[in-house]
Symmetry: C2
Subunit: 561 residues, 2 copies
């Protein structure tokens, strides 16, 4: 972050709080562990509807609960602290000292203020289970798993009516969507590697969440300051803003200065998993010169971020030296930033990537904190012309090998995917990923189905995202209208999140998720009855729906309050 800042000028981030229209935060307590409080949102309808409130999955954390006093200087309640501390194989320790290069060398008035409270980090010790994967393999149902079952069911105690029929009528391409989610089902999916629960033991503020193709499709929003614009305050609010509209996950892709301090503010205030690309920060530590990267700098950066509580790392360990030449005839070469950095390093040194050669050591580090792998697709296509080429698929095959190594080491794994892919070439991406990577969850960027509409790439990619979500992708990384053109502002983030929420929901419907259509039907009934307020309140974006209505139709005559 190159905007000047200073200790005394630092403002406490102002974040958006309060419920969405006609919505209440509800907490339920799972039978398997009534001490847990699992949130969902309920949308109240007009009395004339004579319908119960509509429950919806809630990613927004305590910010949308008017009974919670938000203090960004203190951070969110550390709800999982006790859960983790109660495990025998975890120890608190001093942690790595913060170094000046962690903030890109920022000092004095250029250094963003540190988060006021310093928590000592935890790490796993010994051979007993530390990660959710290890617990699952050991047959142990964690509190996270119980929480997730309750959350995915949206508080239901049993399957909805017609669940069996809905699942049967859906087309899930070999997924095994249950009529009702039990904690044991969650455990089993995690043990099979088919789902992950990104949840660093040092991010206790997190509301646990699962990513896997037999669960609701999740979406991710990217935030992050850059050399051009934005401040710590803005990044914290971007995270809150994105989750308010439905981002299940946020990746902090900050570059430049103050990366460490910015990330600390985000993590301490984030109810959702936070992902990063550690090579970005490592690059800052060597002044942006890819050739100067070393395993030691990278390793140190991993530990720094593990101790802060980052929940998943994108690691481009599948970009091998031998694959780089496969990209020479591409229209767009290597477009992944991480892939480009590693390609440059390998070509300069003519050596295999240190991410690949040190992969087992990376596993050992990440296991101690239960940081989930997001194996990056550094050779993803950056144009429809380059889709599904040998470079892309060679990397995917390597990611498959690495998945098995990471599982053997006890780590959770998901796999990143493209990119730019025309519609008829999307499905093979999913099929091949499932096969090569042993059904580890797929996490894709779009894909964009055409390259001719810059300014509308949330839509070109939303088409591909809905389709690949239907085919089995577990998490969809959003694309904003500014993709390829500039940095997204607040409105762009919202449009990107809403677009991906609707794409994910379209996928849930098509897969035959037993409860997904409840919300569609509620909207449709409201529409049929001209209950305008209900239609707005049930919408993914009530503000825009109401505004669009009020622009041309009389304000009250057409509405039922």
């Amino acid at each position: 972050m190159n905007k000047p800042t200073s200790q005394h000028e630092f403002e406490t981030p102002k974040v958006t709080t309060g419920p969405l229209p006609s919505s209440r935060k509800v907490y339920t307590h799972p039978v398997a562990d009534p001490s847990l409080s699992v949130p969902r949102r309920e949308i109240d309808l007009h009395p004339s509807a004579n319908e119960p409130p509509v429950p919806v999955y809630d990613t927004s954390g305590p910010y949308s609960d008017p009974s919670v006093i938000i203090d960004v200087e203190k951070g969110l309640p550390r709800i999982r602290d006790g859960w983790v501390q109660a495990r025998s194989n975890v120890e608190e320790y001093e942690g790595r000292p913060i170094k000046i290069e962690d903030n890109g060398g920022a000092t004095g008035k250029h250094l963003a203020r540190e988060f006021p409270t310093k928590h000592k980090p935890l790490r796993g010790v010994g051979d007993g289970p530390i990660t959710q994967y290890e617990f699952a393999k050991a047959g142990i149902i964690t509190k996270e798993m119980i929480y997730i079952a309750e959350r995915e069911n949206m508080g239901r105690k049993e399957a909805v009516a017609n669940a069996a029929e809905t699942v049967a009528q859906g087309e899930s391409f070999g997924a095994e969507i249950p009529e009702f989610i039990t904690p044991e089902f969650v455990r089993d999916e995690v043990a099979r590697g088919r789902a992950v629960i990104p949840s660093n033991i040092n991010h206790p503020e997190l509301e646990p969440q699962i990513i896997g193709r037999n669960f609701l499709v999740k979406i991710n929003a990217n935030i992050g300051n850059s050399a051009v614009t934005s401040s710590v305050e803005e990044e914290v609010e971007k995270m809150v803003w994105a989750t308010r509209w439905g981002a299940d996950n946020v990746m902090d892709l900050s570059t430049g200065r103050n990366i460490h301090n910015t990330r600390e503010w985000i993590l301490r205030n984030s109810p959702v998993p936070i992902g990063t690309v550690p090579i970005y920060q490592a690059l800052e530590k060597v002044n942006g010169i890819a050739e100067d990267l070393t395993w030691e700098v990278y390793r140190d950066t991993l530990i720094e971020q593990c101790e802060q509580g980052v929940d998943y790392f994108t690691i481009h360990a599948g970009v091998r030296l031998a694959y780089i030449h496969l990209t020479v005839n591409r229209v767009c070469g290597i477009v992944s930033r991480g892939g480009s950095i590693m390609a440059k390093w390998m070509l300069t040194h003519h050596k295999e990537s240190f991410l690949y050669t040190h992969f087992e050591e990376i596993c050992d580090i990440m296991r101690k904190y239960d940081v989930t792998f997001s194996l990056g697709d550094g050779l993803r296509p950056g144009a429809v012309a380059d889709a599904n080429d040998r470079a892309q698929f060679a990397e995917l095959e390597t990611l498959g090998e690495l998945t098995k190594i990471a599982w053997d080491k006890g780590c959770q794994v998901m796999i990143e995917g493209p990119g730019h892919v025309p519609m008829h070439k999307i499905k093979v991406n999913m099929t091949k990923q499932l096969k090569e990577c042993g059904e580890a969850p797929f996490y894709t960027l779009g894909p964009l189905t055409t390259d001719i509409a810059p300014g509308y790439d949330h839509i070109t990619s939303g088409i591909g995202a809905a389709m690949i979500g239907w085919y089995g992708t577990a998490m969809l990384c959003y694309v904003t209208p500014k993709e390829h053109l500039g940095l997204p502002n607040r409105d762009d983030v919202k449009v990107g999140v809403i677009t991906y929420r609707l794409a994910a929901h379209a996928a849930d419907l098509a897969k035959g998720h037993p409860a997904a259509q409840i919300r569609d039907d509620a909207v449709s009934r409201a529409r049929f009855d001209f209950r305008w307020e209900d239609q707005f309140n049930l919408a993914l974006d009530p503000e825009t729906a109401r505004d669009f209505h009020d622009q041309t139709l009389p304000k009250d005559a057409h509405k039922v309050a």
Copy 2:
């Protein structure tokens, strides 16, 4: 149109003219008939690209040609007048006198000014070929067919390199996309009923265009004044505006007063086919009381619109009395306006629809002017809950019967489709339509893949549109962000058109259209080379792409040219 207007207050419609950025209008002359001038747009690239201009299909008519002087009071050049007059079986006649009810009873200051020039209508006579379908069946290649072959090839004289491979790698679900379009191929597709050329002999201003699944996927924009807002001037400009951004077709869905005069201004200035739903105007003639509709009023309205030059009529003749009860358990009942009107008429009179009982007579009328049938889906689902139900498919089966009758009568036919359909239920719509309707072109509204995102229904439906376009739908009816909420303004029309253009293009790519990827690749190369201006100019919406870039990145440093 209920906004007061008057003869002396009427302003000549101000329409948007001029080329798009870095674009030139090019006309080529087909070998088969060098007297024809067939337009396309060419986008010039920066000299550093060292690439030829990129040809793109051009729907915008003379408005984007700076060498043409536009005079909306005179209308566009009547390019097809000579083509039609040269046919032996066409006669000019006096035509039906305009009645006061044609303009909804508007008189005095409420009556919109008539279009200044009154052309006598033409009609076909005798048994010889009148319609494009009849010519095609007779083995005659019309000028329209020659024009269309040149237009679809975008001026190419031969297939692009790798055309065979591109077609083979595409997935077209049984379509037969050629490597290169010949006039004979056009004729053959029309003769098989697999494509239509909407081209009323009384709309000579039209630049001929084809709709069929072996051609480029087309899109439609809806305009039309309403009881709430808008004027004649606005409607003419909406038509020009929509075609500027890529609408292949426009439907005039006007209601209220001045329908006749508004439509005349639109037709005389429209380079694209104009469609209408004649029952809307017929209803105005009986003061909005559906029960008062008669075959005579409807028949008279058909002739009125045939004489004006409307190119295709949506006719809901498949909504039969016996099907209405099939909708009683729906969440959203009957949402098609035409379907609702006819259902009300049938239930009141307890009689079969006059559109069904008089169908052969309708054919006889439409044949004389070569008005294409767009057989309406009056029972289309209005909610994902109602998708693919018995009501919808019963109507589709009837539309199949009617298609064969219309063909026997010499008419061109396309079929309208849903609506609201979750992704996993889309494909069967296409498969069933092809089977029931003998491969007549399918023309769908969306479909919307979820109902939870009012305000974003251009996107929920853009997903379904891209998919059903891939599966074989020939024309996609656009949806704007205001769908379900209010009346679209100028910006909404543009967003709707661009969204559907990108969806149609994504479908062309996936089907394996041999030349579609040329534009994608040009964008990708521009992106890779940081030729920003080229990237903007090649975009579907250059203005928005440039604006998004300039919002956050320095104006010139990042651009070439």
